[in-house]
């Protein structure tokens, strides 16, 4: 009963203090509760988060005209789209004194050379996660995309492999394995990638975007293409469940896709001042450190490293060094025609 009363009061008070609510559109569980509360305490405001689980969902909603979000956390290619379709505000650098805390290699990205609109938030790498014991037993090398695409390797893993259900991610991996850039637009090369995928497809179990971590941790799947954060979770869970195998993950030597998430302010934001304060709060470093410790999100903040759990910081796949970083590529949006071409190839990949 008391809880219901509290709930009602909270709802009422939320309505009363409507002027001081910072609305954030973020990935689910991408900021810890403590960080949110810390910021709320500091600014004397309320933080209301809405979630999306895919950049495309967020972009679709914004494209239809939805307004009201102050801060959004899009991935780089989405930031580029938002900038070019004129949906973002310029950042007032004078309000972001701690911008210098960011590791320099993450600033001045192609899509926003002067960081006029965006500030790096966190990142993840798309890599291979696997059942250590099983793959060692079968003699499959795990530091290369061949494990995913080479039928000679795959025949040992038949029915135990999943790949990401994402056009750019799967084609990205195929292109990298063939030695082409991730943002290749040449139709012939894209078709080569499609053929590579179709040759490997019969050995795969599924295109899976959401539950591969689960299936790895349980042992139904032995190899999965997925995000570093999910693999970290799978590893932790398998250990806690006392399984007889361990989950490992590694970034293939040919290179991989790297997803940098950023903080941006939407053009229609009502709380511009608060938005800047939030971004500066994030730049301080404690909040990124706490989410890194919690889920293994890549940390872009120099200062934050002191609060990051050493075991997590030591993981080369979660924290690629300078050299490895050069191997990683970010996805950039295709133009309309290449998008249609890729979509057509994707349909074939799915159906044939």
């Amino acid at each position: 009963m008391r809880r219901i009363l509290v709930l009602v009061l909270v709802l009422c008070s939320a309505h009363l203090r409507a002027d001081e609510v910072l609305r954030i559109f973020n990935w689910n569980n991408y900021i810890t509760e403590e960080s949110v509360r810390e910021f709320e305490a500091r600014c004397g405001c309320r933080v209301a988060q809405d979630y999306f689980s895919d950049n495309e969902e967020m972009l679709a909603k914004l494209a239809a005209g939805a307004t009201g979000y102050d801060v959004i956390v899009p991935t780089s290619n989405a930031v580029e789209t938002l900038i070019r379709s004129d949906q973002l505000q310029r950042l007032d650098k004078s309000k972001l004194p701690r911008l210098a805390n960011t590791k320099p290699e993450f600033l001045r990205q192609d899509f926003d050379p002067d960081n006029r609109y965006s500030v790096p938030y966190a990142y993840s790498v798309t890599l291979l996660g696997y059942n250590v014991e099983k793959l060692r037993e079968l003699g499959v090398a795990t530091d290369t995309w061949a494990a995913l695409f080479d039928p000679r390797q795959l025949v040992k893993l038949k029915g135990r492999v999943t790949v990401l259900d994402s056009q750019r991610e799967l084609f990205g991996a195929a292109l990298i394995y063939l030695g082409y850039p991730v943002n290749e637009t040449d139709a012939t090369r894209l078709r080569q990638a499609r053929d590579l995928i179709l040759r490997a497809k019969p050995y795969w179990a599924a295109f899976n975007a959401g539950s591969y971590a689960k299936e790895l941790a349980v042992g139904n799947i032995w190899l999965a293409q997925g995000y570093s954060i999910d693999m970290q979770l799978a590893r932790q869970d398998a250990a806690r469940a006392g399984r007889r195998f361990r989950i490992g993950f590694s970034t293939p030597k040919e290179g991989a896709v790297f997803a940098l998430d950023n903080l941006v302010i939407h053009k229609s934001a009502r709380q511009v001042g608060l938005a800047h304060r939030f971004i500066d709060f994030w730049l301080e470093g404690r909040a990124p450190a706490s989410i890194t410790n919690a889920i293994g999100a890549g940390n872009v903040n120099r200062v934050a490293m002191q609060w990051v759990d050493p075991a997590v910081a030591a993981n080369r796949d979660l924290f690629p060094d300078e050299r490895a970083l050069k191997q990683l590529q970010q996805v950039r949006d295709y133009d309309r025609h290449t998008r249609r071409l890729l979509n057509r190839l994707w349909v074939e990949v799915k159906v044939r």
Binding site: N208, R340, R344
Partner: protein, 279 residues
């Protein structure tokens, strides 16, 4: 039915509220999106403007999307496959729901409420969590990521959509009719098939519609549980909107799907009327 003017006016009054609501909140948006299928995709996704604002920009209306659809047999393949799976799911739901609905309709009055409640209760829990439960169940049988998994989950999710219409129809049946049939010498199977099933046809069609159509648009289940070959129209439409941001293409696919469904519904309604109508 009397066709007096007052009678007709009254019937129009009854039809008015839902009509108005749907014209405003469904027809208008639907027309917007139907138009969208005749436009170009925008540079950054969504829709290109109707009037070109930059030189060389594609704008205005076009039948390009429909041309793409009809010039390529692969889309038809996916449609046919989806219809097949929807039909299979509907049949399985019918097979599973019919005994249940029959039992409910014939049970003692006190138990009926409980049974209907028990039928609907699972659906107060979250869809995703139920699908995950299926993953847990299918894992040990090595059935995960197979078409069987998809069908199981589809039947599971749509079963009550078949039970409820069947039940409300069967509940109306007069047991005296069965007595009469028996007195006339029919055996148990004939009693069922010729009397009960025949009378329940409106319920069967209603339930089938409520299963068949949503299954055609489904994408979450193949996504989560499906294997490499399980890709349906719903997935394709989702990919268009939320994967490539090609709204015109997605809109065109949706319109095609809707038209197919309406066509099937019309044909079925015709057959139902020809085949005997109301008992």
């Amino acid at each position: 039915m009397a066709r007096t003017n007052t009678e007709r006016a009254r019937q129009s009054l009854v039809a008015a509220p839902p009509l108005v609501f749907l014209v405003v909140f469904f027809l208008a948006p639907a027309i917007i999106m139907a138009l969208a299928s005749l436009r170009y995709p925008g540079e950054f996704g969504a829709l290109a403007p109707l009037v070109a604002t930059k030189p060389g920009e594609e704008a205005g209306l076009t039948a390009e999307n429909y041309r793409l659809f009809f010039s390529d047999s692969i889309y038809l393949e996916i449609f046919v496959k989806s219809f097949g799976i929807a039909a299979l799911t509907t049949l399985l739901c019918l097979a599973g729901a019919y005994p249940l609905a029959l039992l409910m309709a014939r049970s003692a009055k006190r138990r009926r409420d409980l049974m209907v409640l028990l039928c609907v209760l699972p659906f107060a829990s979250n869809f995703l969590v139920r699908v995950y439960a299926w993953m847990i169940m299918l894992g040990p049988f090595e059935l995960l990521f197979t078409p069987i998994a998809v069908i199981c989950a589809l039947v599971y999710v749509h079963l009550p959509f078949m039970v409820l219409p069947l039940y409300t129809n069967l509940e109306r049946h007069d047991p005296l009719l069965l007595d009469a049939a028996q007195d006339l010498g029919a055996n148990a199977w004939q009693c069922f098939w010729r009397v009960t099933f025949r009378l329940s046809l409106p319920g069967v069609f209603a339930g089938s519609a409520l299963v068949f159509i949503p299954v055609l648009g489904v994408f979450a289940i193949p996504e989560i549980l499906g294997g490499i070959g399980d890709w349906l129209v719903g997935n394709m439409i989702k990919e268009a909107f939320l994967g490539v941001r090609d709204w015109p293409f997605g809109s065109m696919l949706s319109i095609m799907l809707t038209l197919c469904v309406l066509a099937i519904a019309w044909v079925t309604a015709r057959l139902a009327r020809l085949g005997g109508g109301r008992a």
